[in-house]
Symmetry: C2
């Protein structure tokens, strides 16, 4: 693994901003998009549960409906690739067993040999379910994937706009997510900034490092 330079990473993160206006004529090349889908798939999650679906929307009519469900924002329509990040609702034994089966398959072992891990998965999620916070916990994981996606994109020179400004219930209905047991949490438009997006040149608003980073 040949690492990138610190300059490349810092430049990329300073270069990125929440793109409000995409150049609708530009498309992300297939190999770059493939790398971004890999970043989604490779995102880490609590106990490896991957409680998510990433919906990549290319259909123009569906994109138009998503834009309408996002207070008319243009990013869902104008970007190159639009991804809806959905989290598992009511994660249950089926999900856990699916994860255990996949673990056994990938690692060339048996479900029986994973009993300790299985107990951890069942016990941990059951405790959260009883406390009424299981869906929130799983939702946290989905945002790790969002952070990975934004970062990978910026390092690859791809603009993004992470979005929470939409009606989740409408997104769920349009994409059939509820029926799958998932719920839209956030979305990310990806592509190329329009030459005249006035937000591109606004100074980035961040608190001073000393106000967010505490050294102990």
């Amino acid at each position: 693994m040949t690492p990138a330079s610190t300059t490349l990473v810092t430049d990329a993160l300073n270069w990125r901003y929440a793109t409000k206006k995409f150049d609708a004529s530009k498309r992300i090349p297939a190999d770059t998009w493939s790398a971004l889908e890999k970043a989604l798939v490779l995102s880490p999650s609590t106990m490896g549960l991957q409680p998510w679906k990433f919906v990549v929307v290319q259909d123009a009519a569906v994109r138009k409906r998503l834009s309408a469900a996002s207070w008319g924002q243009s990013q869902p329509v104008d970007c190159s690739h639009f991804v809806v990040f959905a989290g598992r609702k009511g994660l249950d034994t089926t999900d856990i067993e699916r994860h255990l089966a996949r673990t056994a398959e990938v690692r060339g072992t048996t479900r029986e040999s994973l009993t300790g891990f299985a107990e951890m998965l069942h016990g941990g999620t059951e405790k959260s379910r009883k406390a009424g916070v299981l869906d929130f916990w799983m939702a946290h994981q989905v945002y790790i994937a969002l952070g990975m996606f934004i970062t990978a994109a910026s390092v690859l020179g791809i603009d993004t706009c992470p979005m929470e400004g939409f009606e989740p219930a409408q997104y769920n209905e349009i994409l059939g997510l509820s029926a799958m047991g998932y719920g839209a949490l956030c979305a990310c438009a990806a592509g190329y900034r329009a030459g005249d997006d006035k937000y591109a040149t606004l100074p980035k608003v961040r608190f001073r490092p000393k106000d967010v980073i505490v050294h102990v």
Copy 2:
């Protein structure tokens, strides 16, 4: 901005894994660490609120206590840099006004000119507070920063171990987070894998792309 190659990004994300055993003798160089702190500071968040504190723990005695509060896991002690990700609890008018003041300062404008934005911030957070989900919403943002940190680190050749396996109440007490109005959500150890970490060579367990990515 000169982007990285897709190969570099994909290789980095395949190379990374949740490092269980760090080489305690190796330290992340200052310029690399500085880039990682910048990644934290530059993380995006809903409406730019940055509802977080990132606690970088270098004190050996504190690290030992955090390890004890993490069921004895060794990463907090053996890694080069240990970061605790804390989210704002009960975000209120003070936070919003601090963000507005910073926005006015960075963009060279006045608080008065930001009235529309202020209404959006107050209205949006008030709605969540009433629904009892404000802290969860803010917590989501913290996980974006975790995803950014992990990705930036891997691209820079730095190993990480994201962790939720600890007693948040103990972390909060050890780091004085509750008094600051924040709560520990997750942590991330960063550094270099030990040569004999057996987890380094285990095949990565992920569902097949078709099971997590939906194309519409």
